[in-house]
Amino acid sequence: MTAYIVRRLGQAVIVVLIVTVVVFGLLHALPGGLVRAQLGPKATPYAVHQFTIQEGLNKPLVVQYGIWLWHAVQGNLGFSYKLNQSVGSLLAEYVPRTLLLAGSAFLLSVAIAIPLGLWQGQRRNRPDDHALSALMLTFYSMPSFLLGVILIVVLSLWIPALPSTASAFGSGLGTDVRVLVLPVATLCLGNVSYFSRYMRASTIDNLLADHVRTARAKGVAPRRVLLRHVLRNSVSSTVTVLGLSIPYVLSGALIIEALFNFPGVGLLFWNAAQDRDYPVLLGVVLVITVATIVGNLAADIAYAALDPRIRYR
């Protein structure tokens, strides 16, 4: 098990390095360059020259990358001139909110999708399973922001129960948590439609497996067969999907934050993209990618812990 973890950890570090190279390369291969983007079209040649020297942009790209990486390792991700704040402090402010939003939606959707998939798998091809599958596939086929709009129309316009924007979130003490309900619900429905499909499919596979038939033939109580033989195996294969879904969940958070004006890292990133605020773009991509890789790693280790066969592959 230790060897497995060490090997996966090594792979993860390499993957992070490749991501930094790709993103750094993309940002610096730009037409027009970083300086103009930061200083604007009206900057004097002198200002451009000074900024270039100050930021070390006249150095070879490899050296610049080395410097950036060295600083990043030390926790210094640069400075946003647009927002006049260090990228590190921006991230410290915005990332926890997104973690709260995406994390609670993720946990909630797992808590819904696993029992739902298990139930659908048992009732497979009956009318209620078909109806639920159709509903889930419809949610799955919907742009997430449209799902959010439908929730806004129903729960904020028709029945004025919940606020349709979350821009006030985290701005002061005693924030109204009701602003979180619609964004979390939107993300959660999207995730459930994605996870429950896998859970249903793997439940069906397991219900047809030999070990389940054997357990039934031995006279094990149906409930115990379901919980010990079907649920455990289905969950352990769904765990991988959960790990792999982290980028999907974070992508969903970006668009949901834009829709509800939720001041999270997705909104920060979107605004930075429109302003061409490169230090912020780089910092955000680095942090969310590391988060994704750590999530995948955790899922792989959880999978190996749940299913001993994996460790020796």
Binding site: V15, V22, V23, I246, Y248, T289
Partner: protein, 307 residues
């Protein structure tokens, strides 16, 4: 199907027919697949809906003429009427005609990304899986790295860097869409390369390119058709998302995502016709593609079982 039902066999049949056994006569793989496809009601339904939507978007404008370039501020935000069955946009353009125009670019992006992403993923996966060794490791680590950037962040980053037109959007979406195919194809290639016929072919002195092109790629067809179809659905959704974020092609070009975005902005003004028709079209299209993809994957599995 028994021997008795069949017309006089052409060529030679296998010499020994087991007593009382039924003989399944080989039919062409394509016919077999087509039959299984037509038996699947969901697949036929999904395909029919898609054909209708393609007709609506591409043939519709030939029948229903509208001006989608000029703005006409006298006609802005008109409610549906006989002259404008689905009302008008904030620029006074006819919404029904706009849905057709938007459908064109949406479908073009979906299809182009599906095809390009599949081809790139195929090439990458076959090379990595077939060559193996260090090449495989390097190629797959690159895939891992790109896959671990949440795709929408990657797409927003790319779209913000380059001025978006339809071609750029297609390239940007392809840049994320080929990754999953590359992974699947590599896995399949690893198992195919050890098959006897591949080993035999190499024993006869076939080059790597020939083996990859002639013996490995055709065996991937089922996987590729399914993943390519689902890729089209993902691409349409991703295109809608980046258009919603304002990173799509600028007006007067449009697509269903941009139309949704306009509709959402005017949601509180009560201009329902600017949002819901586009919403229904996009959901129905993506749903039809997903249903088709699921059905095709059943077809691929059933075909294997029938053999």
């Amino acid at each position: 199907m028994t021997v008795a039902d069949l017309p006089a066999p052409e060529g030679t049949l296998p010499a020994a027919v087991p007593d009382g056994g039924e003989l399944a006569v080989e039919r062409s793989a394509f016919r077999l697949a087509l039959d299984t496809f037509l038996e699947n009601r969901l697949a036929v339904g999904g395909a029919t809906v898609l054909v209708l939507i393609v007709l609506f978007s591409f043939v519709g404008p030939l029948v229903y003429h509208t001006n989608q370039v000029a703005t006409n501020l006298i006609n802005e935000n008109l409610t549906p009427s006989l002259s404008h069955p689905l009302g008008t946009s904030p620029e006074g353009r006819d919404e029904l005609g706009r849905l057709m125009l938007g459908g064109q670019s949406t479908l073009e992006v979906g299809l182009a990304v599906g095809v390009l992403g599949t081809l790139l993923g195929l090439a990458w996966g076959v090379i990595a899986g077939y060559v193996g060794g260090v090449v495989d490791t390097v190629m797959m680590r690159i895939v891992d790295a790109l896959l671990s950037i949440p795709f929408l962040f990657f797409v927003v980053l790319l779209a913000a860097l380059v001025r978006a037109d339809l071609l750029v959007v297609i390239l940007v979406l392809t840049a994320v869409s080929w990754l999953s195919t590359a992974r699947v194809v590599r896995g399949e290639t690893l198992s195919l390369r050890t098959r006897d016929y591949v080993v035999a072919s190499r024993g006869f002195g076939a080059t790597g390119w020939r083996v990859a092109g002639r013996h490995i790629t055709p065996n991937l067809a089922g996987v590729l058709i399914v993943s390519g179809t689902l890729k089209v659905a993902d691409a349409i959704l991703a295109f809608a998302s980046i258009s919603y974020l304002g990173l799509g092609p600028p007006p007067p070009a449009t697509n269903w995502g941009t139309m949704l975005s306009t509709g959402i902005n005017n949601l509180f003004s009560g201009y329902w016709w600017q949002l819901w028709p586009a919403a229904v079209l996009i959901v129905v299209t993506v749903l039809a593609v997903n249903v088709l993809g699921d059905a095709l994957s059943d077809v691929a599995e059933r075909r294997l079982q029938k053999r």
